[in-house]
């Protein structure tokens, strides 16, 4: 198995130390939100507010997904 696909088999352990690895996803989400809204917004005045909204949506979505998957894993254990 090439290392390229290991991230899908060995995901970030968010429930054990060191706990800072998942925090590194925040700059990634911010960049995605800013660039996406740069593309989508008609005027640049809208970008800061729209990008912040998208950033919060992505982060909340990831937290909810992680919680749901953690719950599923706990039930299956």
């Amino acid at each position: 198995m090439t290392i390229a696909y290991m991230i899908f088999f060995d995901p970030l352990p968010i429930w054990v130390k060191p706990w800072f690895w998942p925090l590194l996803l925040l700059p990634l989400c911010l960049a995605v939100a800013v660039v996406y809204k740069c593309v989508r917004c008609r005027t640049m005045d809208q970008v800061p507010r729209e990008a912040m909204g998208l950033f919060i949506t992505i982060v909340l979505g990831m937290i909810l997904t992680a919680a749901a998957l953690a719950g599923l894993a706990a039930i299956m254990d």
Partner: protein, 198 residues
């Protein structure tokens, strides 16, 4: 009556400029605020990836662990007294081995793996497809990475700058690959805006 005209800048020029400098396509069609915002976000993400994972996360297809081009060799099978049908992939650890990767005089070096099996090399390092979309900054970082991978004169077989592993490598590769894919999004949008009728 409003004038109907297309952008005065040609579409290929916008696409090429957008690839060379992230956000450059927007700049060319006069959307400077959009160019600065997108360009800074993409370049910052790319450089953050290198900051997290080190320069060695730039791992171009066709180059091995020690920064020399991966070579293909048809080994001589002593038992069958003939050259093997299959190629053996060699990652040279020195300039000498890179020039002549054969172990036996009867081995047949076939040249660079990147030239003979480009898709296999690319499939081995698919994250580079995303990274290269960031433009020449990727090529420059790859050149530095290859140079940093060469073993120093005093310690053969040991990389000058070892590549990072595990999480830092994963996060670094993810940042740089996503930066490249965001640049693709920006290239497409800049081209679309350049082709719009005003």
């Amino acid at each position: 009556m409003s004038e109907i005209r297309r952008s005065s800048v040609s579409l290929p020029a916008v696409v090429i400029c957008a690839w060379i400098i992230p956000g450059g396509g927007y700049f060319l069609i006069g959307q400077r605020a959009r160019a600065m915002t997108a360009g800074v976000a993409i370049i910052a993400l790319f450089l953050s990836g290198i900051a997290v994972g080190g320069i060695r996360i730039m791992d171009p297809p066709g180059w091995g662990q020690y920064g020399y081009m991966t070579q293909l060799v048809q080994r001589f099978d002593r038992r069958r007294q003939q050259t093997a049908d299959e190629y053996t992939r060699i990652e040279p650890s020195s300039a000498e081995e890179s020039r002549d990767p054969s172990e036996d005089d009867r081995d047949q070096p076939s040249g660079s793996a990147l030239i003979h099996q480009p898709m296999a090399e690319l499939a081995d390092k698919p994250w580079y497809v995303g990274q290269i979309l960031c433009g020449p900054i990727t090529l420059a970082a790859s050149a530095v990475s290859i140079s940093a991978a060469h073993p120093s004169a005093g310690s053969p077989g040991v990389e000058t700058w070892p590549s990072s592993h595990s999480r830092s490598w994963e996060i670094g590769a993810l940042y740089t690959a996503v930066a490249g894919m965001l640049n693709l999004l920006v290239i497409i949008d800049a081209a679309h805006r350049a082709g719009q009728v005003h």
